[in-house]
């Protein structure tokens, strides 16, 4: 498998179905998501991927959101402190888990054997907390870290990289540049607010202007409530020339977990996604709180 069949569908103006939530789906299946569980509970993770493939996802995302060495290192004052009291494998653990997350998605695809092409997107995000642009590292630091992460998921066999819940143009640009250098197809997903702006206050018009010269394979909006995504989609559709798409979260963030609500049952979620499609969205999926049932409903929009 490669990204090519997905890219061709988008080029032809066809709709591509992305999978739904992984992290919150793990919680819904009564497993903690404090750890990504790719090593401890591989059957649960693989099972979720299989379910999304079965209900019609064309692209499935690895369970690797925010999985990076920095996230582990952030729990210590510095290297000396980590070496003194930290687990001994913290310098290699994240990369190993990243590769494992890709392998679990591949295994799911091999088991289900879908008749249509299904691509595996390595899920990545901002290096610091996705809702906190104020914590972002410098561009140079971000580049070094993204290069390592992108190389790991490329070597593990990901078909594309999905950098999601991005909160600033600066970090999106670095990720996109790294993707181009490593020749990895790349989708960028921005989180937006009620006005359709990035969390830095930057506009999607500005984001598109900076990213399009780097030829992103798609620009998406994600991890905001459906109404906010609709507001952002109106902006994105106005300015973007590359394929665009959206996947909203439903329910409420109840840190460190998720609160599931019945506000958006699958049929209602499909209806709002169909509005995004009318606005021009060609990648449709689900973020936190969505389930295989929601993706099954979206498959009707394919």
């Amino acid at each position: 498998m490669s990204y090519a069949p997905i890219g061709e569908r988008l080029k032809a103006g066809q709709t591509v179905i992305l999978d739904g939530a992984i992290g919150t789906e793990i919680l819904r299946r009564n497993v903690t998501w404090a750890d990504h569980q790719v090593a401890n509970q591989p059957d649960v993770i693989r099972g979720i991927h299989e379910d999304y493939i079965r209900v019609g996802a064309d692209v499935i995302t690895t369970n690797s959101f925010q999985l990076c060495r920095r996230a582990l290192y952030n729990h210590f004052r510095d290297d000396a402190h980590r070496r003194h009291i930290g687990a001994r494998d913290l310098d290699t653990r994240a990369d190993k888990m990243l590769a494992a997350s890709v392998h679990l998605a591949q295994e799911a695809r091999e088991r289900v054997k879908p008749k249509r092409p299904v691509a595996i997107a390595a899920s990545l995000t901002t290096l610091e907390w996705c809702f906190r642009p104020d914590l972002a590292p410098s561009a140079e630091q971000a580049r070094r870290e993204y290069e390592e992460i992108f190389q790991v998921v490329k070597d593990a066999g990901a078909d594309l990289v999905l950098v999601e819940t991005v909160n600033s143009i600066a970090e999106a640009r670095v990720a996109m540049e790294v993707a181009r250098r490593l020749k990895l197809p790349c989708w960028i997903g921005f989180v937006c607010d009620e006005r359709g702006r990035l969390f830095t206050g930057e506009t999607l018009e500005q984001a598109v202007a900076v990213l399009e010269p780097l030829a992103p394979d798609a620009i998406l909006l994600n991890c905001a409530p459906p109404d906010d995504i609709t507001a952002g989609m109106k902006q994105l559709a106005l300015y973007a020339h590359v394929p665009i798409g959206a996947y909203a979260h439903i329910g409420r963030f109840d840190p460190p977990e998720w609160m599931f609500t019945d506000e958006y049952p699958p049929a209602r979620y499909r209806d709002v996604a169909s509005e995004w499609k009318q606005l021009g969205a060609r990648v449709l999926g689900g973020c936190c709180g969505t389930t295989p049932d929601h993706i099954a409903a979206l498959a009707a929009l394919r």
Binding site: H75, H81, F131, F253
Partner: protein
């Protein structure tokens, strides 16, 4: 408390205080049965920032967050005291409940500590909750800067509670902030701390620090060490008490090291991350001559 609850399989959300209240109370009871004179509320790193920090800002928290997050931390503090109190029932005269406060940001990240005036305001709000719930005293645990320890100590004194202050040690044997331990102790004595301790460092580090502590103050000193190695899970922003290789410090070995703490003048002994009721039972037995 936290590392043992995690080890027992409690899914670590809201410190287990809502979803696993019985197991939290049960663990308090086990520590009491093991011979603890003081039990600590299960509130390390529990303050409103724990929830606010994972959102863009307060408005974003209201917009996409679960209802009630703004008032959740004080509610959980109250619940933690209720559970400790329930565990202590019948032993009111013999056992004290310490309300645990800690750095407002990650206890291992002194670089994130808020300015003193902000720390003072926020710590005082938490201390006031503990005072209203009538804990016997406050234990400031895993403090990582002198500035925030001073602010929290003053907050505790303002609400009328006795305060013990405990510092987390860095690998150099000073505060995690690299400020000298002796200076920190002097400041705490000046600020009216009833006792000064060190915690959340390996047992041998606690041994080395206690000499400095004893020399620096006439107040009671003590220590409670972490054992094993801190193994944070891969998707967590805040401190998550997951420790591995704790079997390298079985109770006998721990109590042997704690004897050195006593020799150095410590009169308050306990266990931090990774320790279990068996370690406290061993400390009680090893102490020999009772309280």
């Amino acid at each position: 408390m936290g590392s043992e609850l995690v080890r027992r399989g409690v899914r670590w959300r809201k410190q287990g205080l809502l979803t696993d209240a019985e197991r939290v109370q049960q663990l308090h009871e086990e520590y009491l049965a093991a011979g603890a004179d003081v039990i600590r509320t299960n509130t390390l790193q529990l303050n409103p920032r724990l929830y606010l920090n994972v959102f863009r800002n307060r408005e974003h928290m209201r917009h996409i967050g679960a209802p009630g997050l703004e008032d959740l931390a004080p509610k959980l503090l109250r619940k933690s005291v209720a559970l400790a109190r329930a565990a202590r029932a019948g032993k009111e005269g013999q056992v004290a409940i310490a309300g645990v406060l800690s750095p407002l940001e990650h206890c291992f990240r002194p670089d994130l500590a808020p300015p003193a005036d902000v720390a003072r305001r926020e710590q005082e709000a938490l201390a006031r909750v503990f005072a209203e719930e009538k804990v016997d005293f406050l234990l400031l645990e895993s403090m990582n800067t002198i500035s925030e320890a001073k602010a929290a100590l003053a907050a505790g004194r303002t609400v009328g509670l006795p305060v013990w202050v405990s510092f987390v040690l860095g690998p150099e044997g000073e505060l995690l902030s690299r400020e000298p331990l002796a200076q920190a102790v002097a400041e705490m004595e000046k600020g009216g701390a009833e006792a000064v301790l060190v915690n959340c460092a390996p047992p041998e580090d606690v041994t080395r620090a206690l000499g400095t502590l004893k020399k620096a103050t006439g107040r009671p000193v003590g220590g409670f060490a972490m054992i094993g190695r801190f193994s944070p899970p891969s998707w967590k922003f805040d401190f998550f008490p997951q420790f591995i290789e704790t079997e390298t410090w079985p109770p006998e070995r721990y109590v042997n090291e704690a004897r050195r703490w006593r020799e150095a003048g410590a009169t308050i002994l306990g266990g931090c991350c990774g320790t279990q009721p068996a370690h406290i039972a061993a400390l009680r037995a090893g102490q020999g001559n009772g309280r």
